[in-house]
């Protein structure tokens, strides 16, 4: 089964990241690198990316076939997706184990969701 591990940040989380010492931040980056390496080595990693700030993004909405594009969202969003890991493992418990190694879990929020399978059994 595939599981998407999503890392959410709030302004508060960004502040606590900013208030860390350089050594603490480096430690956090190393923890991510180590996790990526371990997951790649075990063959469980499908993909992992960090996302730019939501202010760098665009929002698209389609009405009557016409697309409207706006910049952002900006700061009014309380919580934003900061990065993700897509992993394939035998159970959600294993995915939870990997997620617990994400340093952001100490100050942000890390959510794990099963990916829907394209396979299905006849009922």
């Amino acid at each position: 089964m595939k599981y998407l591990i999503m890392i959410y940040h709030t302004q508060q989380a960004l502040d606590s990241w900013a208030n860390m010492s350089a050594a603490q931040r480096a430690e956090g980056m190393r923890a991510h690198d180590a996790l990526v390496e371990a997951l790649a080595e075990s063959g469980e990693l499908v993909v992992s990316e960090a996302l730019a700030s939501p202010a760098q993004g665009k929002t698209v909405a389609v009405h009557d076939g016409a697309a409207t594009v706006t910049d952002g969202p900006f700061a009014e969003v309380k919580e934003h997706l900061a990065g993700f890991y897509l992993v394939e493992c035998d159970s959600i418990d294993q995915a939870v184990g990997h997620a617990a190694r994400i340093p952001d879990a100490a100050f942000g929020r890390v959510e794990i969701r099963p990916v829907l399978d394209r396979n299905g059994l006849e009922m």
């Binding site: 063959g43 499908v46 394209r118 396979n119 059994l121 006849e122 009922m123």
Partner: protein, 416 residues
């Protein structure tokens, strides 16, 4: 053998033999297997264009041996000097030793030191002759993920000190069980795929059947091997009828049985009849026997549910599990009525593996529908749709929740 598919089929058949011969000669499984993959790739390009050589196995052995030497030397400073000479196609393919190492290879790929997903990937590559990208496409993951699983699996085999020979008699039964499980997983991965964009995955069923057939040829007296092959054939026989044109799931009772593959059914029934005559009885044989009872019913209402219930009782004794429990509940309902089934289901739910499971909701919905309680059934279908982790199942269950028509004949097998 001039078409691409012809060459491809031939290469897949020859792959394990060539790996076996190389490993016997050079010893190192990991580098030999890599070399064979490259030889297969070279052949898949060259043979369709230039024709299949007279001694295709000999050709592969020679090219793979040279490539293996090259790989081995690539660690040393001599690499560059050797490359030109080694890259040439063989002038004189060598004679082929008459040994079949397929069984040894299967058991090595299903070594207990490996995770299940690695066993699956390694088996498909080493014994099935599939390339890493082909396996990755079939399992919907990037090439690098499968590549990593395979190289890690090889390292683990090396670290475990496993030798290239059949395991000791005492270990062999466990290894065969692991091999059967891996083949069953490969089959299921392909079989449960819906049609359309997932054709690559459907090919996994034919690959699993091909490997199970090979294993059956090697171990004709093993009733569980025969049972697994029969189960695959009897299940795959329904493939064309199990999904609608848009990929929606069609329950067994509503399938157009004229679309079932009668040839596969005949072969599967023969195999399972033969297997059941030779004890001991095992879970694959019993599942195959259940599939055979379904396949032999010309119409859903002709299904011999008493016999199916008896088989589930046996299966429950031999290899109990949550899905067996649910299959048995449906059989009880079909023999003794939906109320009896619902009572059994309430009892079954005390198993922590089943509590809150979407299949429990689906079976309950189904039995409530049968008993005429449409409103309660709807709520259970909705609950099942929310809890399933499969897109086609979600679609099917949501449709059942919405359908206000009475279901014509709700016979179903939640197992398999």
């Amino acid at each position: 053998m001039s078409t691409a598919t012809g060459v491809e089929g031939l290469l897949r058949e020859l792959a394990p033999q060539v790996v076996g011969i190389l490993v016997r000669r050079f010893g190192d499984f990991g580098s030999c297997e890599d070399a064979v993959q490259e030889a297969l790739l070279a052949a898949s390009v060259q043979w369709p264009a230039e024709g299949v050589p007279d001694n295709p196995t000999g050709w592969l052995i020679t090219v793979a041996s040279r490539r293996r030497t090259q790989l081995w030397r690539s660690d040393t400073a001599r690499r560059r000097r050797e490359q030109t000479a080694a890259a040439l196609a063989p002038a004189d393919p060598e004679p082929v030793p008459a040994v079949d190492d397929t069984l040894t290879l299967l058991m090595l790929c299903c070594h207990p030191a490996l995770t299940r997903v690695s066993q699956v990937a390694l088996t498909l590559r080493v014994v099935g002759g599939l390339s890493t990208p082909e396996i990755a496409r079939a399992f919907l993951v990037p090439d690098a993920t499968i590549g990593q699983r395979i190289s890690r699996a090889k390292q683990r085999i090396k670290a475990s000190g496993a030798e290239f020979q059949l395991p000791l008699e005492a270990e062999r039964a466990d290894r065969i069980t692991a091999v059967l499980h891996v083949l069953y997983l490969i089959f299921n991965e392909g079989y449960t795929a819906s049609s359309g964009a997932v054709l690559n995955r459907v090919e996994l069923t034919s690959e699993a059947i091909r490997l199970a057939r090979q294993l059956h040829d090697l171990l004709p007296g093993d009733s569980e091997v025969t049972g697994l092959l029969a189960l695959m054939l009897l299940t795959d026989a329904r493939r064309r009828a199990r999904t609608g044109p848009d990929g929606t799931l069609v329950p067994l009772a509503e399938q157009d049985r004229s679309r079932w593959d009668t040839k596969a059914i005949t072969e599967g029934v023969e195999l399972i009849t033969e297997a059941l005559a030779h004890p001991p009885l095992g879970p694959y044989q019993l599942q195959a026997a259940i599939a055979a009872v379904h396949d032999e019913a010309a119409r859903a209402e002709d299904t011999d549910w008493r016999q199916i219930l008896g088989l589930y009782d046996l299966l429950n004794a031999v290899a109990p599990g949550p899905m067996v429990t649910l299959g048995r509940v449906v059989a009880v309902a079909m023999v003794h009525g939906p109320q009896a089934g619902l009572r059994e289901l309430t009892g079954a739910e005390t198993d922590p593996a089943l509590a809150g499971h979407h299949r429990v909701h689906a079976v309950r919905a189904h039995l409530l529908d049968l008993s005429g309680d449409r409103e309660a059934a709807k709520a259970c279908y909705e609950m099942a749709a929310r809890h399933t982790l499969s897109i086609p199942e979600q679609r099917y269950l949501a449709a059942q929740a919405g359908a206000d028509v009475e279901i014509a004949d709700p016979a179903a097998t939640p197992l398999m």
